[in-house]
């Protein structure tokens, strides 16, 4: 009997041909996943407070502006914005005209003045305009920590029930108004 030189064709080898595509498909899946990850800004963290009631806080007023201060009791009733700002924060200056614009449109904006000297904050508002309804002075930055703030400026959208619905990290820009803030406020006002 002669020794066989050719290996017998394994039955079903054609049926398994697609297995060779598996690594390619896996690679494509991982590639898509990583590409999506590249598009995310790692500095922008999701807020855990979304759809939760705003934290309890009570902040004193900015001396020399008014006597009202700002506390969690002031939240709710209608959709509103809560802006965290400081006079020493350069992006806050960039975003300020956007807040002025929203205030002119009738949007209620409360503010937490973060780790600021009251006289500096007042000078900032005198120079750039004061779009805020209530301002609470958070000298120690404790209330901001309860809001999960990790940098200024940050802006929260609070609904009628006093729940946080959206958090924007960094300066608000006109395109943010178009894309998210105005549509969300309109939806919450319904």
């Amino acid at each position: 009997m002669k020794a066989q030189l050719e290996r017998p064709a394994t039955p079903g080898s054609n049926r398994r041909g697609w297995l060779y595509l598996l690594p390619v498909l896996l690679f494509a899946a991982v590639g898509v996943f990583l590409a999506l990850g590249l598009g995310r800004d790692p500095q922008t963290l999701p807020s855990v407070l979304i759809d939760k009631p705003a934290p309890a806080f009570a902040l004193p007023p900015l001396p020399g502006r008014d006597e009202r201060g700002f506390s969690s009791a002031d939240l709710g009733g209608r959709p509103m914005l809560v802006n965290i700002f400081a006079s020493w924060c350069v992006p806050c200056r960039i975003e300020h005209p956007v807040l002025d614009q929203l205030a002119r449109e009738g949007v209620t904006i409360h503010a937490i003045n973060y780790k600021d000297a009251p006289e500096d904050a007042l000078a900032f508002l005198r120079a750039l305009g004061d779009p805020f309804d209530r301002i609470g002075a958070d000298r120690q930055g404790r209330a901001a920590i309860d809001w999960g703030v990790y940098g200024v400026p940050e802006t929260f959208v609070v609904d009628r029930g006093g729940r946080i619905r959206y958090r924007h990290v960094g300066p608000l820009q006109p395109r943010d108004l178009e894309r998210t803030i105005r549509p969300l406020l309109a939806e919450l006002a319904r």
Partner: protein, 162 residues
């Protein structure tokens, strides 16, 4: 002075100075050494949200300093380590923990490497089992075949084995 000696002195200096350079400053420290040790340990497990890849124990960011102060205040108030972590997670999410917790959303993260290892092992075993073993011993030539081979070898003397 030899450069080796200089280097050794530099390393020795760094070893002495290094721990002092950690961001937690002496004025923040708690008088109770046991509580302070817990505060330091917790600080190493909590992320500074500003620098993101540093712990609050290492970071010089003002927010890290605030968080260190909160950790110490709550320790003094008698909170457990878990309660303090929960307090911060309620504000900043799991991201504040440098080590992600083990929960359904992170199962893939924690178990993924083992899944890949298991899948790889299964593939390797399957591959090795399907591969034909060592070639079998050649069969003895049939008398007719032997005769044919001898005839061929005889025809050309160069083919004869040396």
């Amino acid at each position: 002075m030899s450069s080796f000696l200089l280097g050794a002195m530099f390393v020795a200096g760094m070893l002495v100075i290094g721990p002092v350079c950690a961001a937690t400053s002496p004025d923040e420290m708690l008088p109770d050494p046991a509580l302070e040790a817990r505060a330091r340990a917790l600080g190493k497990e909590l992320r500074c949200l500003v620098c993101q890849n540093q712990s609050i124990d290492d970071s010089d960011a003002p927010l890290a300093k605030d968080l260190r102060r909160i950790v110490r205040e709550r320790l003094v108030a008698g909170d457990s380590d878990a309660a303090i972590k929960r307090h911060l997670v309620e504000r900043y999410g799991d991201f504040v923990l440098l080590e992600p917790p083990f929960k359904p959303a992170t199962w893939l993260l924690w178990l993924g490497p083992f899944l890949v290892l298991a899948a790889g092992s299964i593939l390797v075993v399957a591959f090795l089992r399907r591969r034909p073993g060592a070639p079998a011993e050649p069969e003895e030539l049939a008398p007719a075949e032997r005769q044919q081979l001898d005839a061929l070898l005889a025809a050309d003397p160069r083919d004869r084995p040396a």
